[in-house]
Amino acid sequence: MTVQVCADADEAVAGIRDGSTVLVGGFGMAGMPVELIDALIRQGASELTVVSNNAGNGDTGLAALLAKGRVRRIVCSFPRQSDSWVFDQLYREGRIELEVVPQGTLAERMRAAGAGIGAFFSPTGVGTPLAEGKETREIRGRTYVLEYPIKGDVALIGAHRADRMGNLVYRKTARNFGPVMATAANTVVAQVREIVEVGAIDPEVVVTPSIYVDRVVQTGVPA
């Protein structure tokens, strides 16, 4: 359906419910939808499950959301970083649940959700603690572990540019999880540096087609 071009980040995150699963784009700060996360803090939804590569850096963005006690559970590949003190403390105090997922499995499980795949056999993690309790199968001489989709109620992503239909392009390695998460959530919200007219993005270079995008908001300065 037609994309909603929002006046500000608060409008863009309106209606997110307590208990939602929120996919949050970015790899470190590249592609991190900081303004949307700040708006989500103001919006107030709690008991969230957050799916993101990391578990927050420093005291802003995802770390600030965690610090407010809004996140019940985090699904990520790499929570522990030099500046992940907010998460570290919550985790050590038993105030947040953690599911560690290999990074490629995290991406592929979201892709599966977006692509209508019910489950898939992955070679990643076989024989490791992260495959414990999971179904395994030998296929053509190799062992695989069965992985299930991760679907979001909401995805918050950062992109470089949107047109007014919702087509998105990204910039350099800030692309990372954005295009995958955009396929894997019921409501996809993108913050972008600039919104351009329909037709201003070459159809050959669109990375996230408009069909996936529900709301866009321009934040910060066009690059």
């Binding site: 359906m1 037609t2 892709r111 959700a113 977006g114 692509a115 209508g116 795949i117 047109d163 239909m165 087509n167 396929t183 329909v198 037709g199 993005i201 159809p203 050959e204 669109v206 087609p209 408009s210 069909i211 996936y212």
Partner: protein, 234 residues
């Protein structure tokens, strides 16, 4: 039109032409929908979408916001629809590869697809890819992916085959395309909702409900349990 509206018997018009059926389908596509139109008759629906409908057309071979068929001077062999017919692109289009295109379909991102059919069952089973005839070469294309992928599946077909047999049936006798996947059936004589609750008649065209029901070997319900003749009908 939705299933909570009462049955309307249009006795002053019908059977409908293909274009009239296409116009009915077009009327039921909400503003801004992302839609895939199957090869053949469903393609006609595009001609009946009103100016400013905001409808975005998907083609399985990797494009959103497909435009009309190419005029003779516009033909670009790199730009075709699923029927391999040269088409055009509209502003806001996007190209993507086949795995991405079918991920979009299978993943439930298209709002509506419109397909032709050999048979549809009251439960919404679809048969539209293979007659099962001996010697026939099977060819499925993207039909099975569309049938199970789109949020709503609309079928456009004549209600009776050339040999007079009904195409809305209790159980499909032709090989299936998908199980319980069809939501709405648009025919020359009537429109139906189908699904787990069975078949509901929404509108008839040139045939009273009772006559229609007698010609079909399918339990039918009139929409909303009521039958309404539009004003001016005989």
């Amino acid at each position: 039109m939705n299933a909570s509206t009462s049955l309307v018997e249009n006795l002053d018009r019908g059977p409908l032409s293909k274009d009239e059926m296409a116009a009915l389908v077009a009327r039921d596509i909400p503003h801004g929908s992302y839609v895939n139109l199957g090869i053949g008759q469903p393609t006609l629906v595009a001609d009946h979408l009103p100016e400013g409908s905001g409808v975005v057309l998907h083609t399985e071979n990797g494009m959103l916001n497909m435009g009309p068929a190419a005029a003779p001077g516009q033909v670009d062999p790199d730009l075709t629809n699923a029927g391999k017919i040269p088409v055009t692109e509209l502003p806001g289009a996007a190209y993507f590869h086949h795995a991405d295109s079918f991920a979009m379909m299978r993943g439930g991102h298209l709002d509506i697809c419109v397909l032709g059919a050999f048979q549809v069952s009251a439960a919404g089973d679809l048969a539209n890819w293979h007659t099962g005839a001996r010697g026939a070469i099977p060819a499925v294309g993207g039909a099975m992916d569309l049938a199970i992928g789109a949020k709503k599946v609309f079928v456009m077909m004549t209600l009776f085959a050339k040999d007079g047999s009904p195409k809305l049936v209790r159980e499909c006798s032709y090989p299936l395309t998908g199980l319980g996947c069809v939501d709405r059936v648009y025919t020359d004589l009537a429109t139906f909702c189908v699904g787990p609750e069975g078949a509901t008649v929404l509108e008839t065209f040139g045939i009273p409900y009772d006559v229609l029901a007698a010609r079909l070997d399918v339990p039918l319900t009139p929409a909303n349990g009521a039958r309404i003749l539009p004003p001016g009908s005989s």
